[in-house]
Amino acid sequence: MTWQRSALALLGLIASLILTPTAAHAGDGNDDMAQGSLNGDGATVRLQRAQIENLRHAREVNGKASKASYEYDTVVACGKNHPGQPAAEPYCASAVKACAGNTPEQGQGPLAAIYRRAVSGGGKPQGQWELVGNTCFPDLAPRSKVLSMAQIISAFRRTPFAKPTLHIQPEGNTTLVTLPTYFQATWPAQGFQPGEVDTADPAQMLGHTVRIRPLAASYTYTFGDGTGLGPTSSPGGTYPDGDVTHTYDRAGTYPTRIAVTYGGEFSLDGGPWIRIPATATITGPTQPLQVRTAHNRLYNN
């Protein structure tokens, strides 16, 4: 039997050499990260509006009639939240970021997990909670009490932002041709400027306390002579350290102004500050700037 074993072992070795992984690997696309995932565990698709609508009408996500009655619970997809329990984390950055950048049609989040469990005719639970799926439409889920990101973004955009104005040097909104002129963003007392905290109306926030803190994402300066600066992160400054300056070539009156693009953060029910995936641009009033020509004269004392 020894020669047979040797011969068969050799055959096996030859077979495994012929069927090398190198030869088989070409063309399967697995050297592309996404394709390797699709060919492996596949893709996960968030529950879309129509699928959630099916759940609301006592159907399965695919539209077929449900064979049992279910109760639902929807929790924001944070690591510490579980169905049937009060939310340990009303919101978390990961759930917000998971849907960030989506259009309203794609659902703006936060990412939420929809669970269900079977109930008897009397409403008594019959089993364990099971995950139906994750969605970026948390507010559409059956009996959801999750505050949607769209509602928070809407509240953010309703914030009475402070309208920025320009502080210009030389003082008095008058400067000279060829003289560097300094520009600085300033804030009026009215409205919420970067860093100040506004509280949204709880009646529009499902009873939650939502605090909104605007942040200055960028500034855009218009010098009125066809030129400008920005968007830039600089709020400008005064002589001699300000880094937003402009030199006019000709005399005249120029309509200057500044626009600020606000980003923001929110805090839900005293929770941590989380970045809002939206911006709002507020343009300040036009401020005429007189640019004059300096003439040299000799005076005889």
């Binding site: 039997m1 047979q4 074993r5 068969l8 072992a9 055959l11 096996g12 070795l13 077979a15 495994s16 069927l19 090398t20 992984p21 190198t22 030869a23 088989a24 690997h25 063309g27 399967d28 697995n30 050297d31 592309d32 990260m33 996404a34 390797g36 995932s37 699709l38 060919n39 492996g40 565990d41 596949g42 893709a43 996960t44 698709v45 968030r46 929790v75 997809a77 944070c78 690591g79 510490k80 939240n81 579980h82 978390c92 950055a93 990961s94 759930a95 970021k97 998971a98 990412l111 997990a113 669970y115 909670w129 995950l131 994750n134």
Partner: protein, 194 residues
């Protein structure tokens, strides 16, 4: 998947040939378990072709060993660091030492590392840049973690540094499902979010 299928065929054929020669019964087909079979494991019928319990990576950071959502996030960060090393090294075994045997995506990515290595090729730099990672749902001892980032535009280069292939930039989001076993996290599935 083609790679793993081929290995299974090779292992199965070898095992059948050897066991038939011994007059014994055919062994069950080798599974897709990692670590992947090597020439040494295929030439003897007495040693198992595969192991269902991959060795634990001893370099897993302490933060990634915490059985908490934060620990799961740290594990995914570490996993993707090792993924980058596996493809740009290249180095086989880095991905499989963090993966459950059921993780098909892990198997494909591990196969690619092995394939690059066997051809003396590599990614010219880290293929993936992580932008954020966040723990999401936790059900029945499975912790889901979202990882969002960019598959960078990279060349696959040969040993002389010449480009043999190029990959385009893609923004990607993955959903990791992690399981907790033997005091550490394991990648159970990795799905592309679409």
């Amino acid at each position: 998947m083609g790679n793993r299928t081929t290995w299974s065929w090779a292992v199965t054929l070898s095992a059948l040939v050897l066991t038939t020669g011994c007059g014994g019964q055919a062994q069950p087909e080798a599974s897709a378990s990692r670590p992947a079979p090597t020439a040494g494991t295929m030439t003897t019928a007495s040693s198992p072709a595969t192991s269902s319990t991959p060795a634990i990576d001893p370099n897993i950071p302490t933060a990634a060993r915490a059985h908490t959502p934060a620990g799961a996030e740290a594990f995914v960060r570490y996993f993707l660091t090792r993924f980058n090393a596996a493809w740009s090294g290249p180095q086989a075994g880095l991905i499989s030492s963090l993966s459950d045997t059921e993780c098909k995506t892990c198997a494909n990515w591990e196969d690619t590392a092995r394939d690059l290595s066997s051809k003396n090729r590599r990614y010219s730099a880290d293929p993936f840049s992580l932008q954020f990672v966040g723990a999401t749902t936790n059900t029945l001892n499975v912790q889901q973690v979202i990882a969002r980032g960019v598959q960078q535009p990279r060349h696959i280069v040969d040993s002389a540094g010449h480009s043999v292939d190029a990959k385009a930039r893609k923004e990607l989001q993955f959903e990791f499902a992690l399981t907790w076993r033997d005091g550490t996290w394991w990648a159970h599935t990795i799905r592309l979010v679409q």
